[in-house]
Each structure stands twice: as C-alpha cells, then as structure tokens.
C-alpha cells in the first residue's frame, strides 16, 4: 500500500518545497470521506525528535519549520501507549524511539471508530496527521492510522526520514548556488557531480595504486626531489637497482609511461618525469 518505491518516485517528481504528495489511505468502507481538517499540503515522514527540534516559523506562529520546510501534514510510525477512548475521540501517546508525542483522533464516521478499535495498547501503528502547535505544546491531530503488520515498515520509515531530511537540507544549501550556475534538474541532483581530474597523477595515489604497479613505482621514484632536479634525468640501471626489479620489467613500464606522456627520455637511457619540483 505504501511502498518505498512509490515514495521515491513521488520524491523525484518534486524539485522543492513541501515533499511527497498526500496519499489517501483506503479504508474498508468505500464510502469513506476524508477528514475535513486535511489540506492540500504535502506529507512529510518525520521522527518525533524532529518535531520537537523544529523551529517556529518566523512569519507566522502556526507552522513549524523542519529543514527549512514548512511542516503541516506528517506521517509517523511508532508504538501506541496510554490509549484512552471515548465516544467522540481517542487519545494516545506515540513512541517511536526518538521521543513521545500526544496524538488525538476525532471519530466522525463508523470507519473512524473501526480504525481506532483495531489499534491495541502496545501495537505499532502508522499515522497520518496534522501537527498542532499551541502554547509550546506539540500534538498530532490524526487523520488516519492503522496497525503495522509488516515490520519492515518500521525500518523503512526511518530510512524515509533520513532520505527526506538529507534532501531538504541539501536543497536549502544548494539554492544560493543556483544564482551562479544553471539549475540542476532534481533527478541529476541525486548523483555526484562528475569533475574531471586536473592532475591525473594524483589519481594514482588517491586510488591506492601507489606501490602496486611498476609504473607507479617508477613514477614515484622519479618524483623524488633529488631525481626530479637532475637535468640529465636518471639512468635506467639506477632505477632498476633502486626499485629491485629486472631491466626488462623496468623498460616495459618505461615504455608505457612514455606513451602516456608521464616521463620522457633525456639523454641516452636516462629518464625524467615531466613534473618539475
């Protein structure tokens, strides 16, 4: 019903602002009417800690801001406790491991009552609801909740929270850069930028090739200050002796390095790297 794949697709479709589109959960009754309190804003997966860490929006005092995004509709996963039911509403505390938040659900329809009765004390549940912020206290007005039957959903929910947090955080930091460069399509933003290396020789060390290939050994030897400063280069016998390899192996590596343009022959059988210094 609520797979990660669909969430990912939903994410890719939006380039900023609120996050995933609201999804209506299917109740057992086809005549189910969505709660009147729901509005058109997107749905954010959150942890309770994120809710309590959220800062208050500066322009008004109603909305909370998380990762730079106004938060209204949220989805949580956690364990239900302190459940108290009445005819008109049900209240409980949701504990997802990062914190506890009070939740309230009004029972408008028979389907609401059925949903509420399906949740027992201590059960894990998936909630969709609206955050309320009044006199410093944060509560959740629940639109819909159901038992978690596939417990992969618990880990999946936390993964979604991490993903959305990273995305929104990145979106906020990358916005100023858009003034200096062409805007990056959302699908590209997920990939690391391809930056050509300015110095191909550093790659050999970065990739951990140093000391592995004969070419890297020769290059490293020729880069020593004592060798790179010699105008006439280093004789091949001296290189072979120092590296402890045969002349045949050395000359094969030397040929490869000359073909790549990394070293060159100075005078007969003497070689030098093109990097000075």
């Amino acid at each position: 019903m609520y797979s990660s794949a669909s969430q990912f697709d939903g994410n890719a479709a939006f380039s900023g602002g609120g996050f995933m589109p609201s999804q209506t959960t299917q109740g057992p009754d086809s005549s189910f009417v969505p709660s009147k309190n729901r509005d058109a804003q997107s749905l954010l997966p959150l942890t309770v800690k994120q809710i309590y860490d959220a800062s208050q929006s500066s322009d008004d005092k109603i909305n909370l801001i998380i990762d730079g995004v106004d938060v209204t509709n949220v989805t949580l996963v956690g364990r239900v406790s302190n459940k108290a039911g009445r005819i008109t509403d049900v209240t409980f505390v949701l504990d997802d491991g990062t914190g506890r938040i009070e939740c309230n659900k009004w029972l408008h329809e028979a389907v609401d009552t059925n949903e509420a009765e399906a949740i027992l004390e201590g059960m894990y549940a998936r909630l969709h609801g609206q955050l309320k912020h009044f006199q410093g206290k944060r509560t959740l007005n629940v639109f819909s909740f159901r038992p978690v039957t596939d417990f992969n959903e618990i880990a999946s929910h936390f993964t979604d929270c991490i993903y959305v947090h990273l995305y929104n955080s990145k979106l906020r930091t990358s916005v100023p850069n858009q003034q200096h460069s062409s805007p990056i399509p959302p699908t590209i933003g997920y990939q690391a930028q391809v930056v050509p290396p300015t110095n191909q020789f550093s790659d050999q060390h970065v990739n951990g090739q140093k000391g592995v290939t004969v070419e890297a050994m020769v290059l490293d030897f020729l880069h020593h200050p004592a060798n790179s400063s010699r105008n006439e280069g280093v004789h091949r016998d001296h290189i072979a002796q120092h590296l402890g390899i045969s002349l045949d192996k050395l000359m094969l590596a030397v040929k490869n390095l000359i073909d790549e343009g990394a070293i060159y022959e100075t005078i007969g059988d003497h070689y030098k790297s093109i990097i000075n210094g």
Binding site: V194, Q200, R230, E232, E260, G261, T266
Partner: protein, 303 residues
C-alpha cells in the same frame, strides 16, 4: 647547393655517439656541473622529448574527459574542457566562456550528439593544435582552412593525417616542396605531430567539420575563436613566422603585425593551385633562415 643546408640540419640532430656520452659520477648533483656536461643537441633532444610528453599527457587528459562525460550520460563534454594546455588558457583568458563561444559550443555538442563518427576530428582532438604546441613554444604558424572530412583523416592538426592513413594530395605537394627546398626525404606517413611539438602551430581556421561535407562548420563561430588565437600570438609574441597558403589563409594577414612578425605567402598546396605559386615558394628553408637570424633554433622538418 641545396644539400649544404640539409647536411647542416641533419648533422644538427644526429644522436650523440656512445663514445661521447659523458659518464657522470654518482655523487654529482650540481646543476652547473650537470649543465656543462650536456651538449647543445642533447639539450634540444631533451626539450623535444619533454614537449612531446606534455602533448601526450594533454591528449590523455582530453580522452579521459570525453569518456567520463559519456559514462555520466550528461551529453557531450563541454568545448571549454577540451582545451587543456595551461599556457593557452592563460593566453586566452575566458575566451571560451564568451557568448559567441558558448553558442558555438552548443552547436558543436549538438552535432556530436548526432552519433559517433559524424563529426571530425574525434572530440578529444578538436583542440589538438593548441594542446600540442604550447603558447610559449610557438615559432611558426601554418594556417589551414578546415579539417579533412574523410573518416580517420582529421587529427586536429592542419594538413596532418595519422599514420596508416593515405597522405592527402595537398600534403603530398607539401612534401614535394619540402624535398625540393631542403632535400628532405618523402615520409611514408602524413603525421605532422613532430612539427607541432617543435613549435609549428598547425591551426585550421575552422576546427570541426561534418563527415564528407567540406567546410560545413564554417561561420558557426570557429573563425572568431581562431582569429583571436592569431591576434593573441601577434600581440603577445615577437618574431613568429606565419606561413599563409591560399587566399583564405592570406586574408588572415590583416590580424598579424608585420612589423613584429614574418609573413610568408604562397598559393595553396592543393592539386589545383600548387603549380601556380606553391611549388618553389621555399617556405621551409626561409622559415629556418628567419629563425636562425633571430637566434631561435630552426625546425627539423624531416619526418
């Protein structure tokens, strides 16, 4: 008569005999001592090999950038990323970011994305002339019009073709004139990279062409870029020899300050006009005479 300069030139680049090779003590590390033990021709050979190595590295860098852009699927590599020779980037600051160059870049990228083998030279060789002849080493400039448009011919150097490719008729005529002028033997291949590494800038006015369509990328912006290259050489250097063959190349003389540089003109070496002003022009020996007068090492034109 012509054989005398030829002998002098070839003697100049003869490899040192083994008996003359200096034996260096292991403890010798003084730069002065090192300098004094190296003969003039050994230094020239060292310099040539070093510049050849740098041009190979530039080529490898271009190949890497092209292949990485293909892997990432971001479309073609940007034109400005293919000019990798630092000395030219310093001599032409911001040139490839100007509006006309960005328009040209988009045009070339869209042409290249039409499929491999549609645009010549191969993407990594578009700026080969500049990447092979650093700005500070330019001694002479041979101006071509646009790249060869047959498969496998173009390599980013004007008039030049890779080894293994049939030598085009224009280049055959160039070799004939070279033989007549300096007594150089006719080479078996048409790769002029050895000239480029020595400081002969082999620049086409237009740097790309569509397959089998001569001059198809003319007036797309390349002329403006290469004109800036020529003007930059004229303004920032002295004593460069410009070899202008054919009317389109001769028109570029307006960009060159003839008080500071030398301009040699002749007919185009193509079959149609070689007999009407190219053969007998003796531009190769004249170039070397001018260079020697200025105290610059002459070009070894023998391939």
């Amino acid at each position: 008569m012509a054989s005398a300069p030829s002998r002098t030139l070839t003697d100049f680049f003869q490899p040192a005999s083994k008996r003359l090779k200096p034996t260096l003590p292991a403890s010798c590390k003084s730069d002065d001592a090192n300098a004094s033990t190296l003969s003039v021709d050994q230094k020239l050979r060292m310099e040539y090999n070093k510049l050849l190595a740098k041009s190979k590295r530039n080529l490898k860098l271009c190949v890497e950038r092209v292949s990485k852009s293909k892997e990432s699927g971001l479309g073609g590599v940007k034109l400005e990323e293919l000019l990798v020779e630092e000395t030219w980037l310093e001599a032409l600051p911001g040139e490839l970011q100007k509006p006309y160059a960005l328009t040209l870049s988009k045009f070339v990228e869209s042409e290249i994305s039409g499929g491999d083998g549609v645009i010549f030279p191969p993407t990594h060789l578009i700026f080969n002339a500049l990447n092979s002849t650093p700005f500070h080493t330019v001694k002479a400039v041979i101006l071509g019009q646009d790249p060869y448009h047959g498969p496998g011919q173009a390599m980013g150097l004007s008039f030049s073709v890779p080894e293994g490719i049939k030598v085009p008729s224009s280049l055959v005529n160039i070799f004939k004139e070279l033989h007549q002028d300096l007594g150089c033997s006719i080479p078996t291949h048409g790769n002029l990279q050895k000239w480029a590494v020595q400081g002969v800038l082999l620049l086409n006015a237009v740097l790309t062409v569509r397959k089998h369509q001569a001059n198809s990328h003319a007036k797309k912006g390349w002329e403006q870029f290469t004109d800036v290259v020529i003007k930059t050489i004229s303004q920032k250097k002295e004593g460069v020899v410009f070899l202008l063959w054919g009317n389109s190349a001769r028109e570029k003389s307006r960009l060159i300050d003839a008080r500071k540089h030398h301009v040699l003109t002749a007919a185009h070496p193509s079959g149609l006009s070689a007999n009407r002003g190219f053969f007998g022009c003796r531009h190769f020996s004249r170039t070397n005479q001018l260079l020697e007068q200025m105290g610059i090492d002459p070009i070894d034109w023998q391939l």
